[in-house]
Each structure stands twice: as structure tokens, then as C-alpha cells.
């Protein structure tokens, strides 16, 4: 007999006494219903932002990136800040789908689909910044190593910036494959209950002819497991490599060995915050409180308080090392440019400290972890804080360099720099609105898989099993 038992002490992952068909109904309903007025409003706002971003990029290509307020001293500003910020956000999806799969965390099933989608869209946004920052973007293909007529002049394989090209493009490809292979069975579900010809045809193409054959499922499970195993070191490597962009330089404030773990923790931190913001909205708008439960939100809040504290330890370690190393440049960067509140950018450092380290500590309180409003508010705060973190790292290290004569006047972005950033928000939310409307936002097949173990209705009937003696239990249920 197939053993389907989980302790009643664990919170159910699916509320209500549902059967398989109801799970399908609940999750496919938003796809089959007409979009609400709210969806249209949100979608139009997103498209407008996207168009503004496109115009900002058009100006960037036409006039050059001189229209950004970057100068010789502050050569990286909002653009690379935004790049690192988006890449960081793009880490939660694969973390949830891969690392939590390997750790057998059942609660990932409710949120993994939307989190993976978020990852893909966030990495798409992140990729824009280094590409358009190149200025002469029509030369972008120079970063690819291929035999060429320029010597052949190869790329520098010893450069972290090139590692980044490989890391980000691999991460995007693998995340996309992982996400889409998981979507195939769910597209088949949508296809088989389609009520219009067009719908049946489109979802028929999207589902690749999936039938649900046992052999296919067996291979699918093997594929998911190996992809999860591959993605786990991958997700850690990607932000490690992003941190190498800074850590391998000789700029005070960047040249530190704790960057890789510190960046990875920060990435998970901001990624979970973004997942949290989106999940709180999705469960409300699509009435999916039964699938994205309070248990899911609490679990993510716990990850947020953990990673927020790790990031806090990293900030304090940096400050300590700034003093302990007795290196004047390090000391100046950490204790004047950053930690001194009245230095030109002191506000950004303390904004970062307040948002990332202090405020998430509120989640030590059970009542706060279980409060939807606090969760949503904190998820926004954390994302603001993580943006500040990247801004602090980049700008406060750059604006006063080794040579005081080249110290920068106060750097602040132009409207086109901000517009580009706004445009990536547009891109992200345009994609996310389309995803929410046309894709199953929760992995239907995976929910069905855990339904009889962790569904509320099924757990409720486990009393009988719990009352049994161990011998009877083993006799009746073990293979």
C-alpha cells in the first residue's frame, strides 16, 4: 500500500477538504475567467512603464550613456545597482524550486511556479543593465567567445565580468528549462478542459503533446531531481560570481573576501521578499488562500529574518574589518563614506541598516510573522533596503577614490537613468501580469501529489492511524 501519512502537528499545505478535480478547478479558474478590471489597470500601468523604459533606452542608444549622470569617478551608478538588485531578486525562484526540493520542503509546491516565473522575469530585467550600459550596444556580441576575424581576438576568460556573462546566461537558460518542463503537465491539464478551439490549439502547442504516461512521469521526476541538483550549486554560483565583479577589484569596500556568502544571503533575502510581495497579492486576487496558506507565508518570513540577520552580520564584520585591518582607505570608506551619518551618502547606509537588519527582526514575533499586512509592508521595505545595499556598495566606494583631485561631486541619477529602471519594472510586471492570466500560477500536478498527505481534509482523517500501535501501523502501511 502507498503510505500517505503526515503528522497532524504539521500545518496543512492545502486547506479545505478537496479532491483532485477541485484542485484543478481552483487553479485553472483565473485562466478561464475574463480578467478583472484590476488586472487591466495593472497591466496598462505596467505597459506604460515599459514604454517609458523603451524611450529611455532609445535615448541612451541615440545620445550615449553620457545622458546618465555617471562620470569618470562614479562609473557605475544606478545601472549596476539595479542589475545586482534584479539578479538578487531572481535567486528566490530557483532557491525555492531547487534547494527546497532537495531538502524535501513540502511547502515549496504552493509557491514554486510563481517564484520561478518571477526569477525568469527578474533575470530578464537584470540582463538589460549590463547590455545597455555597454553604450555601443551593437557591439554586444563581442562578449561571446567565437572564432572571429579580429585576430581572432578572444574574450578574457580570467575576467569576472566575462564569468558574469556565462553565469547569468546559464542561470537564465536553466531556470527557463526547469520552469517550462514543470509547466508541461499543467498546460496539458488546461488544454484538456479547454472550451474554445483557439484555447485548445494554443495550450495544445504549449503542452508539447503531454499525455501523463507513467514512463513520462518517471523521466519527468528524474529530470526535475537532477535539474534541482544542478540548480542548487548554480544559484549559489551566480551571485558568487556577481560578487566577484566587485571582490576581485582593488577598490576599498569591494576588495573583501566575505562578498560571496554575503551576496548570496542578500540575494535570497531580497528574492524571498519579492516572492512574498507577489504571493500576498496573488492569493488575495485569485482567492488562493487555500493553497498559498499562512504556513507558506510564515515559512518565507522565517527565511527573511534568517537571511536578513546573516546580511546584518556581514555588515558588522565589514565595519569591524575596516577598523581591525588598520588600512586607511578601508577605514575611510567604511567609517566615513558609509557609516558616518552626515557624510554625503550616510543616509543610504543607514537606510540600508534600518530596512535590512533592524526592521526584519520584527519577524521574531509569531504574531507579526502571521500578519498579512506586516508581511506585505516588510517585503517592500526589504526590497528597498536591498536596493540601498547595492547603491551603498557601488557609489560610496567609488565617489571618493584614491586620488582626491578626482573625487566626484555628488552623484544623483538623471530622469533617463530612473526611466530605464522604471522600464524594467514595466517589463517585469507586464510579464508577470501575462503569466498570472495565461499560466497556472500554482503547480497543479505537484499540489495533487502532496494533497493526500498534507491536505486538511485528509489529515483530519489521520486520527485513526495515529491511534494505532506502531506494530499495526508498520504492518498495515509499510511497503
Amino acid at each position: 500500500m502507498h503510505l500517505k501519512y503526515e503528522s497532524q502537528l504539521r500545518e496543512p499545505l492545502v486547506y479545505g477538504d478537496k479532491n483532485y478535480h477541485q484542485v484543478t478547478e481552483d487553479i485553472v479558474r483565473p485562466i478561464e475567467a475574463k480578467p478583472t478590471r484590476l488586472w487591466y489597470i495593472g497591466f496598462y500601468i505596467a505597459v506604460c512603464l515599459l514604454l517609458f523604459g523603451v524611450y529611455a533606452i532609445y535615448r541612451d542608444v541615440t545620445y550615449g550613456i553620457g545622458q546618465w549622470n555617471l562620470n569618470k569617478t562614479v562609473g557605475w551608478g544606478w545601472d549596476i545597482t539595479n542589475f545586482v538588485w534584479w539578479v538578487g531578486i531572481g535567486h528566490a525562484g530557483t532557491l525555492i524550486s531547487a534547494i527546497l526540493l532537495l531538502f524535501r520542503q513540502g511547502w515549496r509546491t504552493g509557491v514554486n511556479r510563481a517564484a520561478e516565473a518571477m526569477t525568469i522575469f527578474a533575470v530578464m530585467c537584470a540582463g538589460q543593465f549590463p547590455i545597455w550600459h555597454m553604450g555601443r550596444v551593437w557591439m554586444a556580441f563581442f562578449v561571446l567567445p567565437y572564432p572571429n576575424s579580429r585576430g581572432p581576438l578572444w574574450v578574457n576568460f580570467n575576467s569576472p565580468l566575462l564569468w558574469d556573462v556565462f553565469a547569468i546566461s546559464t542561470y537564465f537558460t536553466v531556470s527557463l528549462l526547469f520552469w517550462y518542463s514543470g509547466l508541461l503537465p499543467d498546460f496539458a491539464t488546461v488544454r484538456d478542459r479547454a472550451f474554445t478551439k483557439l484555447r485548445k490549439r494554443l495550450y495544445g502547442v504549449a503542452a508539447f503533446g503531454w499525455t501523463g504516461s507513467t514512463k513520462h512521469w518517471q523521466r519527468h521526476e528524474s529530470l526535475s531531481l537532477v535539474l534541482a541538483g544542478l540548480s542548487t550549486p548554480l544559484v549559489l554560483s551566480v551571485h558568487t560570481i556577481v560578487s566577484f565583479d566587485f571582490a576581485t577589484s582593488v577598490i576599498p569596500g569591494w576588495h573583501t573576501t566575505i562578498f560571496p556568502p554575503y551576496f548570496v544571503a542578500g540575494a535570497i533575502f531580497s528574492g524571498f521578499a519579492m516572492v512574498q510581495s507577489l504571493m500576498v497579492i496573488i492569493r488575495k486576487v485569485f482567492a488562493m488562500e487555500d493553497y498559498i496558506t499562512m504556513g507558506h507565508i510564515v515559512a518565507m518570513n522565517k527565511v527573511i529574518v534568517l537571511t536578513g540577520s546573516i546580511v546584518g552580520v556581514a555588515y558588522l564584520t565589514e565595519l569591524f574589518m575596516g577598523w581591525y585591518s588598520q588600512n586607511k582607505y578601508e577605514g575611510y570608506t567604511f567609517w566615513y563614506s558609509r557609516a558616518y551619518l552626515f557624510s554625503p551618502y550616510g543616509w543610504s547606509y543607514w537606510g540600508m541598516m534600518a530596512c535590512n537588519v533592524l526592521s526584519p527582526q520584527i519577524f521574531w514575533f509569531r504574531k507579526m510573522r502571521r500578519n498579512i499586512f506586516v508581511t506585505f509592508f516588510m517585503s517592500i521595505i526589504v526590497n528597498i533596503g536591498m536596493w540601498f545595499e547595492r547603491f551603498v556598495i557601488i557609489v560610496t566606494s567609488l565617489y571618493r577614490d584614491y586620488l582626491p583631485s578626482s573625487w566626484s561631486v555628488y552623484y544623483s541619477p538623471t530622469i533617463w537613468e530612473i526611466g530605464f529602471y522604471a522600464g524594467t519594472f514595466g517589463l517585469f510586471f507586464t510579464c508577470f501580469f501575462l503569466f498570472a492570466k495565461y499560466f497556472p500560477v500554482i503547480a497543479i500536478a505537484e499540489i495533487k501529489y502532496v494533497l493526500k498527505t498534507t491536505g486538511e481534509g485528509y489529515k483530519g482523517r489521520m486520527d485513526k492511524i495515529e491511534a494505532e500501535s506502531l506494530e499495526t501501523f508498520v504492518h498495515d502501511h509499510a511497503h
Partner: protein, 196 residues
């Protein structure tokens, strides 16, 4: 490809499906496939399917990526264009680890997904016969291949006794073809039917 005749039994509970699979196999019928809405663990063993070796393929693709990265980079940096970077060694293995790792993962992932699609005949515009519309929703659909000697009535009664909610007989194409899901008719002529 030839069309074949199948007997279909639909179950709504995996707890009923497992003993039924066992009974059908003991009775000597050939289970063509069981279509399920999600991965039912242990069903592959119950049906006597062998383990997939997809992960072995993944390993081979992975080491292909590793060797591709290492051989290409070392050839480029030591033979083709030995770039002098601050007098540092041309063969700078530690600096190549990130790209080698990324290519290992990339080759393994892309290769495995393509192999998966190839083995399961999954691609856009591929169409296959669908035995029951609810097999991707809430039914576990057992499909048994008939031979010349199979008595379909007996088999249907046998399945019903085993707990099947619904049984029927279908003559169907077992392979795949290019087609659209909004058009139900087959794109080619029905030539031979393995008679009952």
C-alpha cells in the same frame, strides 16, 4: 503506424489503482500505459517499468561541458592567443573554474531536457491519442493493449471488478503525429485495424 485496439479502465483513487495494476498484470494482460494527472510514486515499479537512465545521460552531458570549457579555454589562452595579463601564467586554471562550472551545468541541463523531450516524444505541434480527457485532471487511466484473443467484454468486467469507475474500448493510434488539438480527426487514412 498501425492502429491498435485498447481496453481502458478509469480509476479515481491511487489506492484502488495499485491493486488493480497488480491483478491485471497477474492475469497476463499487457498494460500499454497508465495515464495519471500527477507523478504517482511507485507506479512505475508496480507496472514493472525499468528505471530511467536519464540521469546518466545528464552526467555525460555534464562532463562534456566540463571538457569543452577546459579544452577551449586552455587552447585559446595557451596556444591560439597567449594574452599577457600582467605576466601571470597563461594556464590559469583557478580563474577558469567559474566558466567551467557554468558550462557543465548548462550542457547537462540543456542536454537532459532535449533528451527528455526526445524520449517522451514531446515537442510543439506533436499530437498523441488521448484516451480520456480527465486523465490530466483527476482520473488514473489504465490502458490495456488487446491481442487477437482478448475478450474485451471479459476484460472490462474484470476491470470493473477491480474498482474501475468507467471502462471502454478504443481503437487508436499509439504513436505521435503532427497535429492540432482543436481538430479531432486523424490526419491520415485509417488503413488497417487489428480486428477484435
Amino acid at each position: 503506424m498501425a492502429k491498435k485496439k485498447f481496453v481502458i479502465g478509469c480509476f479515481d483513487d491511487e489506492a484502488v489503482l495499485f491493486p488493480a495494476v497488480k491483478k491485471v498484470r497477474t492475469a497476463g494482460y499487457k498494460i500499454h500505459d497508465v495515464y495519471t494527472p500527477f507523478a504517482v510514486h511507485g507506479l512505475d515499479h508496480a507496472m514493472g517499468l525499468r528505471e530511467t537512465s536519464l540521469h546518466t545521460a545528464g552526467f555525460i552531458y555534464g562532463i562534456t561541458g566540463t571538457t569543452t570549457a577546459l579544452s577551449c579555454i586552455s587552447w585559446i589562452f595557451t596556444k591560439d592567443w597567449p594574452l599577457n595579463i600582467g605576466g601571470k601564467p597563461h594556464f590559469a586554471l583557478p580563474a577558469w573554474i567559474p566558466i567551467t562550472f557554468e558550462l557543465t551545468v548548462l550542457f547537462a541541463a540543456v542536454g537532459m531536457v532535449l533528451t527528455f523531450c526526445y524520449l517522451c516524444q514531446l515537442a510543439p505541434f506533436v499530437k498523441k491519442h488521448h484516451f480520456h480527457a480527465r486523465s490530466t485532471d483527476d482520473l488514473f487511466v489504465m490502458v490495456i493493449e488487446c491481442t487477437d484473443k482478448t475478450n474485451t467484454d471479459d476484460l472490462q468486467a474484470f476491470l470493473t471488478a477491480g474498482g474501475a469507475l468507467e471502462t471502454n474500448v478504443q481503437v487508436a493510434e499509439e504513436g505521435w503525429w503532427l497535429g492540432r488539438y482543436d481538430q479531432d480527426e486523424m490526419p491520415f487514412e485509417t488503413k488497417e485495424i487489428v480486428a477484435a
